[in-house]
Symmetry: C2
Subunit: 339 residues, 2 copies
DNA sequence: TTCCAATTCGCATACGTATGCGCTACCAAC
DNA sequence: GTTGGTAGCGCATACGTATGCGAATTGGAA
């Protein structure tokens, strides 16, 4: 009754050979039946499936991955799950990859060295491709991916000159759009709350925002740095608002930082939003729509971006040599009550 | 120069044999060097590492998993990433598993059938264990895991009589604690906003809440159902508050539902919180501490729960036969301004 | 009936690593 | 010098599936 030699504590796995023996066919027949390739008659295929079901047989993905050189897994490098944009993108990504019958190997990276470690691990597991969802990706690490790992899709971050495709939004245009919007509303003094210093997304948004302001004859915005973190942003915007000649409009690099700014203004400094201060965020997190904040913000087309990213990853035309592609989407200003 | 026969588009992977040849040793030596088992001298180990580094060699995890019958991966089944408790738990879990050098295969499950599919996929990839983070897990699916998959750790959900260990909090006690807290504050009419109907966590919280109220001579709470969703909860609590003899205190199954209740009360019905209505949530999401809500809520000891879960998963004593264990933690009431 | 093509199937081998076993040096103790 | 022990190493095989190739079977056309 006991198959072969049940190792200590190891569940005696049922193999394709076991199924073959029970069904009176060869192991290759079982393999072909499950791989859905021609070479087995419909009748025997059915019989094999029936027996397999009875025996609780499941093809060993490690073994098949070894021989086909495709693991059936894609990697996702994640930095902050609390970031609502990344969290939403992750959720959509997981859902879409599942529809394509791809498993997902997730690597949570806290620092830069973790990002590199992810490349190594993905290499070891022979993932069929990977997504990098991180606001920060040093060139050095990007090179590591190019050397070790499989094809990489950068999400919301492009590294020019790197052999890695990317999907992102036009952050410069988005920043400029916010500037236009606030200028039209009659604002004169502006503030910008940075996210992570060094991230291209942040730089681009700021560049678009600032240059449009200057172009319209305004003074460049006061700057603060919130690190995409509520508490840090609260401190930064508090400082910004306690200065003399404080800004009447603040553009924040993320919704959570925008909400921190609103909370500080309202509850700590007694500044009315939107009457005395306009606040604009970025990401359109679910909370942004809640009436307590009712936040004007920038929405990125997450679903489309994910779809494009997956297509880039699976596109057979680019596996060999094709140059890396960078797909840019338009972000959209969602006007609500905070500005 | 080109190794063997570079398949079409397939990166010609460097194998341990290639390293062995370059280093002038046998393949087994390379294997032993990387597995850090005795059988190679320190000198040759160093040489092997040097050569491996030069060749960009990375041991194939699929191959080694095939032979050792351990994939080095654990599975995580995720239902809602937008649920702050699950999202926080996921983040901690990812971080801890990484410290243990375990890779993580994530499966996002929308419905019950997805939960079952996750079991199948985890089986195919021979994960070394898996976590189920879902408020809902039907008995039938739990049985599927027991049959196909590896050892399972349920997170925040216990299935009595199932061969699956679990970590959770004492939801009955938590519900009772909230009841006590509100009774002491002088409330007489209560409401309870359910999360997902059928989830044991929800049932237990309600049971503890209700029985303590009744025990204190109060009328049982008015009930509503919000499905752990902000919008749905807003509708439900709106209905609850527009009734005559509306409750003066509402206990909600999650923070997001509690915030929906506060927003509806304040912005739609003009009811003052906490003056005219006390609101208590569950989870202690990061947003709960923000001054706009300043929500009184229940905090679950996420870090400890994750740690215990991992320990359960890796505990060698229980792999073979040991009965499933259920570790229960105490939840803690965090008193803030909303009640 | 004969012959050819198509279909179905099994044999054998390969994927890349882990590991038991045997062999060789070498050293210490007698 | 002989013996016993140990460390270092290679040989060979196993893990479970995929797949090229030839053999066997079948059906139909000639």
């Amino acid at each position: 009754m006991s198959p072969k030699k049940a190792g200590p504590g190891l569940p005696a796995a049922v193999t394709s050979r076991d199924v073959a023996r029970s069904a009176g066919v060869s192991q290759s027949a079982v393999s072909r039946a499950f791989a859905r390739v021609p070479g087995v008659s419909e009748a025997t295929r059915q019989r094999i499936f029936r027996i397999a079901e009875e025996l609780d047989y499941q093809p060993n993905a490690l073994a098949s991955g070894l021989i086909t050189r495709k693991s059936g897994m894609v990697g996702i490098v994640l930095s902050q799950l609390n970031n609502p944009f990344l969290s939403q993108a992750t959720e959509v990504l997981l859902k879409e990859l599942r529809r394509k019958h791809l498993q997902v190997l997730v690597f949570s990276a806290a620092g830069d060295s973790d990002l590199g470690e992810a490349a190594v691990e993905f290499g070891r597991y022979r993932v069929d491709g990977c997504f990098v969802l991180s606001p920060h990706l040093p060139r050095k690490v990007a090179r590591l991916y190019a050397r070790l790992g499989p094809t990489v899709i950068l999400f919301n971050r492009s590294v020019p000159g790197m052999k890695a495709s990317a999907v992102s939004v036009d952050n410069v245009a988005a920043g400029a759009e916010v500037a236009d919007f606030l200028i039209v509303r009659g604002h004169k003094r502006f503030g910008y709350l940075h996210g992570l210093a060094g991230a291209t997304t942040d730089r681009d948004r700021f560049k678009g925002f600032r240059s449009r302001l200057v172009q319209a004859g305004m003074a460049p915005p006061v700057e603060g740095s919130g690190g995409y973190d509520y508490d840090e942003a609260a401190v930064a915007s508090g400082a910004m608002l306690q200065d003399g000649g404080r800004p009447t409009a603040i553009f924040c690099g993320s919704d959570s930082m925008a909400m921190a700014t609103m909370d500080v203004a309202r509850f700590k400094l007694g500044i009315k939003v939107p009457e005395d201060l306009a606040v604009v965020g970025f990401d359109d997190a679910p909370t942004a729509a809640w009436p307590s904040y009712d936040l004007t913000t920038i929405r990125q087309p997450i679903a489309e971006m994910v779809e494009a990213g997956i297509e880039l990853l699976l596109d057979p035309k680019r596996t060999a040599d094709g140059p890396s592609r960078n797909i840019v989407f338009e972000a959209k200003l969602i006007v609500r009550g905070s500005a």
